[in-house]
């Protein structure tokens, strides 16, 4: 039997207690077709981009001022040679700072308003009114409210991370509370309300909270450029905005790509970390 993909292999072991793990090279061999296709799709994407720039495509969308992939790569090389670490460090710290404070507060308040009607009545309305305000709209107030630009920037990445985490946590808790069976199981074994919350409600809310954290991490990166417009001399977002102001186009696209890559990578890390808290789940997609 030659396995054609990972799913059929995992299906084979579905009911067995000891889970078989595939070796890395087996995974690569099994997935090599997919990897080839994905590689081809990326190459095609860059070729199309280069081509559109080369013919100065200009119909509705104007490619005349868009830097070509080669120019972007050159800008990247220049950026790397020119002390990039201060920019990375500044941005990463702002995102992590906003994300961590957003997670702590988002999960905490989410657990509270998800499980208590009184707290929901008191807290949910003002939070809901503030939620639709985009990060950009916060800039003037952030400048006025905080002692320095740096804390204002932390605040804006915090706003980005906080809301998705809050809402996901709240909804996840409400969903867990609707699972009467698990609550009854806990009650009949003698759990009091606190133990029910700790052992039943919180673990069963983890998948929802995890989704909120992944989205929150992405949002913190969205808001980074906005945050770094406020002030400062360092940061990937600042670099992007500065390049636009001084009409230097290739670094703009480079900044965008870097933010995209780092955002995707950090979301992936968050996903992996939160998954490690939920070892009981077996996820089988495609109806297997």
């Amino acid at each position: 039997m030659t396995p054609t993909n990972v799913s059929s292999k995992s299906n084979f072991y579905f009911k067995s207690y000891r889970k078989e793990r595939l070796m890395l090279w087996e995974l690569i061999r099994i997935n090599s077709k997919t990897y080839t296709r994905k590689l081809i799709s990326i190459i095609l994407f860059f070729l199309l981009w280069e081509f559109l720039c080369w013919i100065d495509f200009n119909f509705i969308i104007n490619f005349v001022f868009v830097p070509t992939p080669v120019e972007v790569i050159n800008a990247f090389i220049q950026f790397i040679n020119d002390s990039p670490w201060v920019h990375f460090k500044a941005s990463i710290l702002r995102v992590i700072g906003g994300f961590i404070s957003g997670s702590i507060l988002g999960i905490f308040v989410g657990l509270l308003i998800g499980s208590s009607k009184i707290l929901e009545d008191f807290l949910a309305t003002p939070l809901e009114l503030l939620r639709p305000i985009p990060a950009v709209a916060w800039i003037p107030l952030a400048i006025l409210m905080f002692p320095d630009a740096e804390s204002g920037m932390y605040y804006i990445t915090f706003v980005g991370a906080f809301y998705p985490i809050l809402i996901s946590t709240q909804k996840a808790v409400e969903n867990s509370l609707s699972d009467r069976l698990m609550i009854r199981v806990g009650q009949s074994l003698g759990a009091n309300s606190f133990q029910l919350f700790k052992d039943i409600i919180v673990p069963s809310s983890l998948p929802g909270i995890s989704a909120g954290l992944v989205i929150g991490m992405g949002n913190a990166w969205f808001c980074l450029v906005t945050a770094e417009i406020i002030a400062g001399r360092f940061g990937i977002g600042y670099k992007t905005w500065e390049s636009y102001v001084i009409s230097e186009y290739p670094p703009i696209v480079m900044g965008m790509v870097l933010i995209g890559l780092m955002g995707a990578f950090s979301s992936f890390v968050v996903l992996k970390i939160t998954d490690s808290f939920m070892p009981w789940r077996t996820i089988s997609k495609d109806g297997i």
Binding site: Y17, L189, G190, L206, M278
Partner: protein, 265 residues
Amino acid sequence: MIKKSKIEENYVLVDNVIKTFNTNNKKKIILSNVNFQISKGEFTCILGPSGCGKSTLLDLLAGFTKPDEGLISVSDEVVRKPGPERGFVFQKNSLIPWQTLEQNVGYGLKLQKFNSKDIEAKVTKYLKLVGLEKYRKAYPNQLSGGMQQRGSIIRALITNPKIILMDEPFGAVDAQTRSLLQEMLLKIWREFETTVVFVTHDVDEAILLADRVIIMGVNPGHIREIIPINIPRPRSLDSSFLEEFQKVKIKILNLIKEETLKLMQ
């Protein structure tokens, strides 16, 4: 001594219980004037057509819901809320998904602040009892339905409850597994001398297991008849070929048929 035997006879007391539910601001009577007693160590099955309130009655015994009128007591204590002194076995998928089998089985003891060594020892003993010691580290979704139910039974049993309440625990497993589980349950019941109330819709199952079968009627839910089963123990699958078994079965089937017909009118 007279008093003690009285308690043992009225080990479980259901006294004039009335239960209503509110649907669309209209009170609907689910159970009306339910009365019965169960003595200590007795195995009682509750049978009845669907919608007769048998699960509601079990929820009341567990304390998940409260009666509108009347009183329920187990071992001279009025039932007010659910607790480990009344073990409950649910129909299916009731092992806590994020706990391994051993954590599930030991959870009740952990809540009672037993130390981890005692829990470990007790869990091992109970897992062996139902042949699951190999799977102690498995999560529920890695276990078959029958294994999950076995885990669920010992989880309810491990806190040494005064009574075990079972809500169609074998309804969702296949027929072969079911008869094995039934024999296993009888073995455990004999060994632990527990009192069991077992809700089912399977007549054969009820006759095989029970000392007495409570037949419930409909419109509203009430006790139609309580039938003692005098088939000698130990019983096994072979017991179903006895004449006594067949006689009781026909009697029960007729009673349930009458009640089911009432529902259709």
